[in-house]
Amino acid sequence: MKKMKLILIGMAFLSFISLNSISAQTGKEIAFKVYNRPTAKDGESDMKMTLINKKGGKRVRNIHQFYKDYGSVEKKILFFKSPADVKNTSFMNWSYDDANKDDDQWLYLPALKKVKRISSSSKDNEFMGSDFTYADMEKRHPDEDVHKLLKSENMGGENCWVVEATPKDQDDMYAKKIAWISKSKLLPMKMDYYDEDGELLKTLTINKIEKIGKYWVIADETMHNVQKNHKTVILISNMKVDQGLNDSKFTQRAMKKGL
């Protein structure tokens, strides 16, 4: 279970274009294709997260983030650069491939000089008051959903498959999701999330895709909760991948030490 893919590398999925992909596909095949593509081993970037409420009021957080993929576990650490009163606060997340194992999460509060564990009992919780839930940022195993290829159409300048994913778990917070997946880049260009009553809850729009090294990366995306009319915009910049980051970067000691 790899978490927070989206926020970390902006769903930086390796583009691999095979000739097979042009021929007829099932929804399930497409889902596995997206899931199984190689990704960067590690990376770091600046992240600017802007929360926009329904009155248009904005709150901006500037963060520097590191992540590393260990195979069975993916670790990441976020350092707050602003606002000032939370400067040097850091957040660490270990996400396990084992679906039965919950994430480990910690927050270091410099004012308390203590690392606090955050319960990850609910993946339906919103991440940092944003419109993304933890689950939204996970790389979700295709077997958890039933996939159905609806059609092909253009979205955001890309030729896309439109795939509907319906969770097998009745208690999932979404009744279904519909994704527009770029055929050439294997990245979603747009996603619609439907709530448990089957009403449209959120729309994810990809505004900009960049190529970093050999990976296609989402550099600008907006999640719009249409029921609350609340938006979250995430901008990724200064991204570096495959630098061989040291394991000591992803410890509670590192959290306290700061950038």
């Binding site: 009163d85 606090k116 009992s121």
Partner: protein
């Protein structure tokens, strides 16, 4: 005037036809344009600083009154069935069209539970799947008991009840929504669970629909009784019908014109027909009284000559009374409340229409349909009245000192009462105690922190002000001081409750850490932790996202204005202390606006009352060409007003917006009585030259008409005492009381003053 009279006599049928056409047109206009404004906000002056501020704050913190739905189970709510009902009811409510966001429904099912685990913070729902096992139910109960933000707020202290709070879209409360919620309540009651629906939107909405409904039920009864009493006094079917027609037609014209010009019907303007009936019948009664007395005294005079005499003798007093009454009402234009301005203008207009109708339509109708025959028996009645007049005149004239002393005592006693008058904007107080809303509201108030909310808005001079421990502690002090001082304050909610809760759970759940920490950055980091942990948007109802402005929310168990005002005054005492630390203190919310609004109405009412006194004195002085007469003419108004307000103060009956306005009726009625009486007195004085005869004759003529008028309207309006709706009971009582005091005041103390002042008898004595 002569020309007009001849025109009326010549074209009586034409006048009838034109009146009919205009009335039909007015009815059509009413039908086409009818629009009843029930939105209370529309009554308030939008540009008033208090309202401007409140609206801004309401927007900022999403302040809206909530419908409260309580579920009660004597065996306690911690059982599978009741908890399942809370969950289902919450979901059903979330699906209503009037609910915008799912977040707008707060219940034990949707609320956040901020707790500590071994190493950190955890924010989760109390339950998602309804707990079934004893163990899980006990855990839920423990979670609630140890959460200061939930226990006693969403779950009652005795754990037998839980409340769901549903914030509906602005002004979306309707009868159908109320029915829908009641259907839900019905669906979920049973198996030992009882459901109670309460809250300010319900109370307001119920009142909005109950008052017109009650009026619709009671008004025909009022009219019927007036019709009967009018017939008994006038002894003429024709006279009765025509007099009532005048009042009805002027009401219809007024409403037709008002709606045609695009003014909606406000609760206040529905009082216009009430006013016109109470005031308007006077003209008809005086005209009929005159023509019938003349007819009786001079049976040989022709119908047309009788009409000529009636108009000649009566047009001046009818016009004087109407113009003064109308202008008296125009003094209400000084009010800041727009519906009151409309009320003033259109009541004044209605009075003028009633005047024209009385002077044109009544003679025309008498001309067409003739007068009722004088019955021989009637003379006995006349004599009886004459005897009464003599006897009464003696009582008044021979015991002047007693009457004057009595009046002075009454003025002093009731004047003292005025000083104790207070206005109550409480809606709940207006319902009969048998109404289910009274019971449910009481239940919710008994079990939880209260159905009335007062928002104290604290505005910092810079960002992150409400992360500053000094500022937060000040706010905490206000919250606890006010909570301790008033037993009606059931609790408060502010950003402090979040901070203290987090400080406690992050410090090993130590009760002594349930306080505001000293470090500003720590507080900031708590909130980051809160958000990281998936804390809900409820936080933004008590502080803005920049932490510059905070909302300290008090829950009260009553909406009584006295308590609310006292509490607000207590909070205002902290203003200077807050200003010292760069924080401005203000209030917001529906309850507060209503309070300000009531004060505005009362203030405006008192101001306009004084103004109308001055206007009336000037007008009467001009009309009678004597300042002395002008001053004497306001005696009945003065007495009526003093008693009207004094009674409220003495018996601790709070004034309400509508009853405050209806007091204006004192002026309309008082003037009518005084002018007719003085005018007749003057005519008789010039005619007889003898003071005693003048008094007796005036009693026989005007005194009789005034008595008729008073009896008709008093009996008619007394019907309202049987109304279910308290403001309508008050309305009936006030109108009746005003009629009675104006009547007695005119024929006793005003007469005595006229008599003693030798009005119109300067040279004779």
């Amino acid at each position: 005037m002569k020309k007009i009279t001849e025109f009326i006599l010549k074209h009586s049928i034409l006048i009838g036809v034109i009146t009919l056409i205009i009335t039909v047109a007015a009815l059509y206009s009413i039908k086409q344009n009818v629009y009843i404004e029930t939105d209370l906000d529309k009554y308030m002056p939008e540009d008033h600083p208090a309202f401007v501020y409140s609206d801004k704050a309401e927007e900022m913190f999403d302040i809206r009154d909530a419908i409260m739905i309580a579920i009660e189970n004597d065996k306690g709510i911690y059982n599978y069935s009741t908890l399942k009902k809370i969950k289902s009811l919450t979901k059903d409510l979330q699906k209503l069209d009037e609910i915008e966001d799912k977040d707008d429904v707060l219940s034990l099912y949707t609320a956040d539970n901020i707790i500590a685990n071994d190493e950190g913070l955890e924010i989760e729902r109390f339950y998602k799947k309804v707990p079934k096992s004893k163990e899980k139910l006990n855990k839920l109960r423990d979670n609630v008991r140890t959460n200061e933000m939930i226990y006693k707020r969403l779950v009652s202290e005795d754990e037998t009840a839980s409340v769901i709070m549903a914030k509906i879209k602005d002004n979306s409360f309707s009868d159908s929504l109320y029915n829908e919620i009641n259907l839900l309540a019905e669906k979920y009651s049973g198996d030992g669970d009882r459901i109670y629906v309460a809250g300010q939107p319900v109370v307001e909405g119920m009142m909005g629909s109950l008052m017109p409904k009650d009026m619709q039920k009671m008004f025909p009864l009022v009219m019927l009784l007036i019709l009967i009493v009018l017939f008994i006094t006038l002894r003429s079917i024709k006279g009765t019908i025509i007099t009532i027609l005048v009042v009805l037609i002027s009401s219809i014209w007024t409403f037709g014109l008002m709606l045609f010009l695009g003014y909606p019907i406000y609760a206040i303007t529905t009082l216009i027909p009430v006013m016109l009936i109470a005031i308007g019948v006077a003209d008809g009664i005086h005209l009929y009284n005159h023509i019938m007395l003349e007819h009786h005294d001079n049976p040989d005079l022709s119908k047309k000559d009788l009409i000529r005499d009636m108009i000649k003798q009566m047009w001046l007093p009818v016009m004087m009374t109407s113009v003064t009454t109308a202008i008296g009402f125009l003094s209400l234009l000084t009010s800041e409340v727009y519906p009151i301005k409309y009320f003033a203008v259109f009541t004044g207009l209605g009075v003028m229409i009633a005047m024209v109708m009385s002077l044109v339509f009544i003679p025309a109708m008498i001309n067409i349909f003739g007068l009722s025959k004088i019955k021989s028996k009637k003379s006995g009645e006349q004599e009886f009245f004459k005897k009464h007049s003599n006897w009464f005149t003696d009582i008044v004239i021979n015991h002047r000192k007693i009457w004057v002393t009595l009046t002075i005592i009454i003025l002093i006693v009731f004047g003292f009462g005025i000083s104790k008058v207070w206005i109550n904007s409480s809606f709940l107080a207006r319902f009969p105690s048998s109404n289910p809303i009274v019971e449910t509201d009481k239940f919710v108030n008994d079990k939880f922190s209260g159905t009335t909310t007062i928002n104290v808005i604290l505005e910092g001079d810079k960002k992150d002000k409400f992360k500053d421990p000094e500022v937060l502690r000040m706010m905490d002090k206000v919250a606890s001081d006010i909570d301790d001082k008033y037993k009606e304050v059931g609790g408060s909610l502010s950003v402090n409750d979040f901070i203290k809760r987090m400080n406690k759970v992050l410090n090993e759940d130590r009760q002594d850490m349930y306080k505001i920490p000293d470090d500003k950055n720590l507080i900031a980091q708590y909130f980051l932790l809160y958000e990281m942990s998936g804390g809900s948007d409820n936080l933004w109802e008590v502080v803005d996202e920049n932490f510059q402005t905070a909302n300290l929310r008090f829950q009260l168990k009553t909406d009584n204005s006295k308590t609310l005002n006292s509490m607000i005054k207590s909070v205002e005492k902290y203003k200077p202390a807050f200003e010292k630390i760069g924080v401005k203190l203000n209030f917001a919310g529906g309850g507060y606006k209503l309070l300000v609004f009531s004060d505005l109405i009362l203030e405006g009412q008192i101001r306009s009352l004084f103004l109308s006194f001055i206007i009336v004195i000037i007008l009467l002085s001009l009309m009678f060409k004597s300042i002395k007469t002008g001053l004497i003419g306001v005696i009945p108004i003065t007495i009526t007003t003093v008693i009207s307000f004094g009674v409220l103060g003495l018996f601790n009956i709070p004034l309400e917006t509508t009853t405050a306005l209806i007091s204006s009726i004192a002026i309309g009625i008082g003037i009518d009585y005084a002018v007719h009486f003085i005018d007749r007195y003057k005519k008789n004085a010039l005619l007889t030259g003898d003071k005693y005869t003048t008094v007796v004759k005036t009693m026989e003529h005007s005194g009789r008409a005034i008595a008729f008028n008073a009896v008709v309207v008093i009996l008619g309006f007394l019907v309202l005492l049987f109304s279910e709706f308290k403001p309508n009971v008050a309305l009936g009582a006030i109108v009746s009381l005003n009629m009675l005091t104006s009547f007695i005041g005119t024929i006793t103390i005003m007469l005595i003053v006229m008599y003693s002042a030798n009005l119109y008898f300067k040279k004779n004595e």
